[in-house]
């Protein structure tokens, strides 16, 4: 009674404005670090430690980027960021194709076919997500060493071709939403299970496959521990490992070059995120919410 429609309306308006103000103020905390990275990456060395600090470089030093790419240190020689980028892309192609192909086949077996022990096998699959990686780390290393795979990319992509619990779960959730009548109709028409999978289900599952590809690409790009353990020769490093190696050699000091090198590693991920936001949100919706 006391709160008439006009008063509620103005209260709503106030709430909107307050939300907006809080969001704008807070957004600085999230945005400024990245802007600072960019700002530092474009400064000459002396300006990075200028007091008080400047946001806009007084001398724009674009050379930092090629310098970071082709840094030639006296002690360790040339740091080949282009080679790292090339290595990372190759590795990403191997993991992305493996994750998409094998997880879709496996998830089809869990989502659309009935066989005894299926529920148990799926429960075990989910349970493997609880196993901390360090538990598997040492035996995997000694096993791959035994295979002669240490120092190659094989430990980083071959296991991906055998599926991963997270992706199986994600695709299974999606496959189950596709009407079963479609499979039945195809079966009655004499279509084989492989045919149903590749001609009926896969074309409909493109959005979910895109999510798997996206998540796998990002995970491979960001992975640090795997390359750290298995890659020995500097020429074979990925960007994440190469960046850490670069920082380790530089120590503090040349922050402008370090930030330029970091920006090179970060930029593709941010660009990818901007262009794939829809798939991203869908992917999270597919996995997170069911609790």
């Amino acid at each position: 009674m006391a709160a008439g429609p006009r008063r509620t309306q103005s209260k709503r308006k106030l709430q909107k404005w307050l939300t907006l103000i809080v969001l704008i103020v807070l957004s600085g905390l999230f945005l400024f670090p990245l802007l600072w990275m960019l700002s530092t990456a474009l400064k000459p060395m002396e300006e990075t430690i200028l007091q008080p600090p400047t946001w806009i470089p007084t001398h724009w030093r674009w050379r930092n980027f090629p310098d970071a790419f082709t840094y030639d240190s006296k002690s360790i020689g040339y740091i080949p960021f282009l080679v790292y980028g090339h290595n990372t892309i190759i590795l990403c192609m191997l993991t992305v194709s493996g994750a998409v192909v094998s997880n879709s086949i496996i998830a089809y077996g869990f989502a659309r076919l009935r066989w005894p022990g299926r529920e148990l096998a799926f429960a075990v699959t989910l349970a493997t997500m609880m196993i901390p990686f360090p538990v598997l780390m040492v035996p995997l290393y000694t096993m791959f060493r035994h295979f002669g795979w240490v120092g190659t990319y094989r430990p980083l992509w071959i296991p991906v071709w055998f599926g991963s619990a997270f992706n199986i779960f994600l695709l299974r959730q999606f496959f189950r939403t596709i009407p079963f009548e479609l499979s039945e109709a195809a079966r009655i028409d004499g279509c084989s299970e492989v045919g149903i999978f590749s001609l009926v289900i896969l074309p409909l599952a493109k959005p979910a496959l895109a999510v798997v590809a996206l998540f796998t690409f990002m995970a491979t790009w960001n992975d640090f521990l795997g390359p750290l353990i298995y890659l020995l020769d500097q020429k074979t490093f990925t960007l994440s490992l190469g960046l850490q190696f670069y920082q380790n050699q530089h120590g503090g000091g040349e922050w402008n070059l370090l930030m330029a090198a970091s920006a090179i590693v970060v930029a593709p991920m941010i660009a990818l995120f901007f262009f794939t936001q829809k798939q991203f949100i869908e992917g999270i919706a597919l996995t997170g919410i069911k609790g």
Partner: protein, 320 residues
């Protein structure tokens, strides 16, 4: 009549117990298994075997080049008795757990703000999430620079706001871990986006009903929103527990590399960092495996605690 006819169709023909139907079942099983075969093989080679091997190694003296040699409980006894580093790494990791409630409240608060219907919200959502897609190595190096005691943006900004600003962050045993926490909270968007997705699934009629009862915004948050999204809070908490125990890359990049073992006075020698060092720098693989199993057990206990207490506050739809 029709009901009977329909149910008649479904009963298997009694005169054909091992014939067509059984054959069809066998075929289904074969097809099903061949689809999941890659996973079964992968599970045996890349999960089951390593688990068993790691448990075995944890009871062995194992240094890669020579075969493992059974020593019983020695590694486990050593862990808790004669190595200070182990207990310190355990304490360092335990300290990082204070990040979980902070991250939860912050992530949820931002998600609530972003869930309001305003123009330009998509822009803000993107902006708050972007730090979460920055590769960990790059964000670690960035924060090494931001937390620089003399020239870092963090201390400079605090000075600008006339707040205490002489923090030594990563160079100091007391401030190193808070420095890591500040950095991690920057990528709180990862949890936020999951909360946001679930907030959008809370049925509107619940809020309408609460409005009719004259509920305040706080009441609605406490009695409608939080119970509705509690499964997701639970999910994030479990992920947080697992992630905290495996905190590695940031510590390795920021304080663990370069010969210094684990930051000032080992204050950032986290559990997984020390485990990695044992396995791949000191080549004490058996000892590392014992650590891994302690980690596994702690993870299970912590998750079980969250799970047990969750009975009181997690509501699954249609369960009440």
């Amino acid at each position: 009549m029709t009901v009977f006819a329909a149910s008649d169709k479904k009963t298997p023909p009694a005169d054909d117990p091992h014939g067509r139907m059984a054959r069809a079942n066998r075929r289904d099983t074969r097809t099903g298994l061949s689809f999941v075969a890659p996973w079964l093989v992968g599970f045996l080679i890349f999960t089951l075997y390593p688990i068993i091997a790691s448990l075995y190694y944890s009871f062995c003296d194992y240094r890669v080049l020579s075969p493992p040699h059974w020593v019983g409980l020695r590694n486990y006894i050593d862990l808790f008795t004669d190595h200070d580093y182990f207990l310190q790494s355990l304490w360092n990791t335990a300290f990082m757990f204070i990040e979980l409630p902070i991250g939860l409240v912050l992530g949820l608060a931002i998600a609530l703000l972003l869930n309001q219907k305003l123009k330009g919200m998509a822009f803000f959502r993107t902006l708050y999430y972007v730090p979460s897609v920055v590769p960990t190595v790059a964000s670690s190096i960035l924060w090494l620079w931001l937390l620089n005691p003399d020239y870092g943006l963090v201390n400079k900004s605090l000075a600008l706001l006339h707040l205490p600003h002489n923090f030594t962050w990563l160079n100091d045993r007391v401030w190193a871990k808070p420095g890591f926490i500040v950095m991690d909270l920057w990528s709180v968007g990862g949890g936020m986006i999951i909360y946001l997705a679930s907030l959008q699934g809370v049925p509107q009629y619940l809020y309408e009903a609460a409005d009719l009862d004259g509920a305040s915004p706080w009441d609605k948050l406490r009695h409608v929103t939080i119970p509705s999204i509690s499964p997701v809070i639970f999910f994030n908490l479990i992920l947080g527990v697992i992630g905290t125990f495996q905190y590695f890359t940031q510590a390795f990049v920021m304080t663990g590399a370069n010969g210094s073992v684990g930051g000032p006075a080992n204050s950032t020698l986290f559990f997984s960092l020390y485990l990695y060092q044992n396995a791949f720098q000191y080549f004490r693989m058996g000892y590392a495996c014992a650590m891994a199993w302690v980690l596994f057990i702690f993870t299970l206990i912590a998750s079980a605690v969250v799970f047990k207490t969750s009975a009181g506050w997690v509501y699954y739809e249609g369960e009440k």
